[in-house]
Symmetry: C2
Subunit: 315 residues, 2 copies
């Protein structure tokens, strides 16, 4: 059931001992939203803990250094930035059917929770949480502001992409004026700093990028073998997908990463192609200009399916 | 003489037949500021023309397609985003001594004009011009908003860098809410789209980047020969300088470009080193985290001087 801010406020003010679930392969938005909400619950005197299928990458230490939260038997289950309970990974079995409140910004949200605060036009889950906190008249700490800024900045490509809203900018202005966040340092670590391995991999882009459909589709694949050869962790690959649409003539880009049991495929749209719709035909979802799906099988077969799906959409 | 908004308003409302000078090697901010001011003067019924030492790169066609303005004998000389009249190139001789109004955001402004509207804390000259237009109660057209957004976005690294102000974000929000700008498309062309040659050059970065001072300084040099080998125009190299500080341990990065008679050296600071001060010792200037200078002589001698200057600053 979809709810508004007032009902979400009543829920948060009356909950106890909450786990906050964030999605697998965590990114800046779900991490910022999880830890930002944890700070807000602390202000409300509610004990909470952030829970994730995967380990949170070390470049988010400035957010996670406060700790995930102590162990306790949860009485409340909250999900943030999770459009589909399948994205909880191994926690889907434990909590997937008993999420009481979901706070999200994915228009594709499956409405799996008892109550869902969905703002499908927000750039980030962190944007929804900030507006909720302001609606509730909450005090926002510097750490909380840092978390929420990080989510808005990362999901909007630092205010670069279509999904950026006027509200994203207004919130960023408030964060800078009122909460003393070190936004330039956050952005440096989120967008600019690269390991030597990542730089080396990027220098191979022109070799490993494949072009299809007369230049309209580019695919970059990073197998475990390539990552090993370059000496980089798979979690250093966040932010790699946009490289697939850097050439002027490209319409759609796909970044394929090999995982233990499948291939994660991240789609980007340069202009008007709706990649969320393409990904839905492949069992995934997301936003119009940034979406994804998971594929299993032989890499060559997977690529064939992806190319065909894009070709159908481009027409 | 430094003036405020009210005096600048009186000046603009009473001027006639104005040339608007922008600096050589024009970037998004001076181009946006020049053409944005031209739109405002048009609203005021003042004829104007944008003048630049160099040709404006074609990726700014969405701004310049309105034309530079008709020829006429100027009665008014205005400079935007020009901290030092030397940066006018060949127009310094013609107009350098007779600039009546300068609108700028460089704290290093030489106060060479009769009247200077300087906002040293603004992220961009376009930010100053937008606030001036609002102060004057001017109507802002969609084209004018597009120009001014472009300048704010490019000079702030799309709201990423330290120089971004809360006001930059507030203006961006207003641009999106009120003036219907296609910000995502602007940002795609300003930050993401790359020619095949540029991509090829970036793939050589790990080969051509030199590291000094125990990893704290990185230098990338692009000679005319390298550019020719890669098949790219020198004007495709805008936005290249930040690559010099992408490695985590880097403090200062220098991007050296060969020009006809000298080498343009663009400095970037990753953290606390003030590169404007370093550049001032080399006859240049700029901002604390992004500055530059021109050097003549043998490339190897130039590099030696640059390294020594950085070493002195880092201590």
């Amino acid at each position: 059931m979809f709810i508004g801010f007032s009902e979400a406020e009543v829920f948060l003010r009356n909950c106890k001992d909450a786990v906050i679930l964030i999605h697998q392969n965590p990114d800046g938005d779900c991490i910022g939203a999880g830890f930002g909400l944890k700070d807000i619950l602390t202000e409300l005197g509610v004990r909470s803990r952030v829970v994730c299928h995967d380990e949170i990458p070390s470049r988010y230490d400035f957010i996670t250094s406060v700790g995930l939260g102590e162990e306790f038997e949860p009485q409340t289950v909250i999900a943030v930035d999770i459009a589909d309970n399948k994205l909880m990974g191994r926690y889907n079995e434990v909590y997937g059917e008993r999420v009481q409140l979901c706070i999200d910004h994915h228009i594709s949200n499956k409405d799996y929770a008892e109550k869902t605060l969905l703002r499908g036009n927000a750039a980030a889950a962190c944007e929804v949480i900030y507006d909720l906190a302001k609606y509730m008249g909450m005090k926002i700490t510097e750490h909380c502001a840092t978390c929420l800024y990080t989510g808005i900045a990362t999901d909007s490509g630092c205010f670069k992409y279509d999904c950026t809203t006027p509200r994203s900018h207004e919130i960023a202005a408030e964060m800078m004026r009122c909460y003393n966040i070190n936004f330039a340092r956050i952005n440096r670590y989120m967008f600019d700093v690269k390991s030597a391995g990542r730089m080396k991999l990027e220098s191979k882009i022109t070799e490993i990028m494949e072009t299809y459909l007369g230049g309209k589709l580019n695919i970059i694949t990073v197998t475990k073998q390539i990552a090993e050869d370059m000496g980089i962790d798979m979690d250093e690959l966040e932010g790699f997908a946009p490289i697939t649409i850097q050439l002027e003539e490209s319409e759609v880009g796909i970044f394929i990463r090999e995982r233990d049991n499948d291939f994660k495929c991240s789609f980007r749209s340069a202009n008007d192609v709706n990649v969320s719709q393409i990904c839905q035909t492949l069992g995934g979802g997301g936003h119009a200009k940034a979406a994804g799906c998971s594929m299993t099988g032989e890499l060559s077969d997977i690529k064939k399916q992806l190319i065909e799906a894009v070709e159908r959409a481009i027409g």
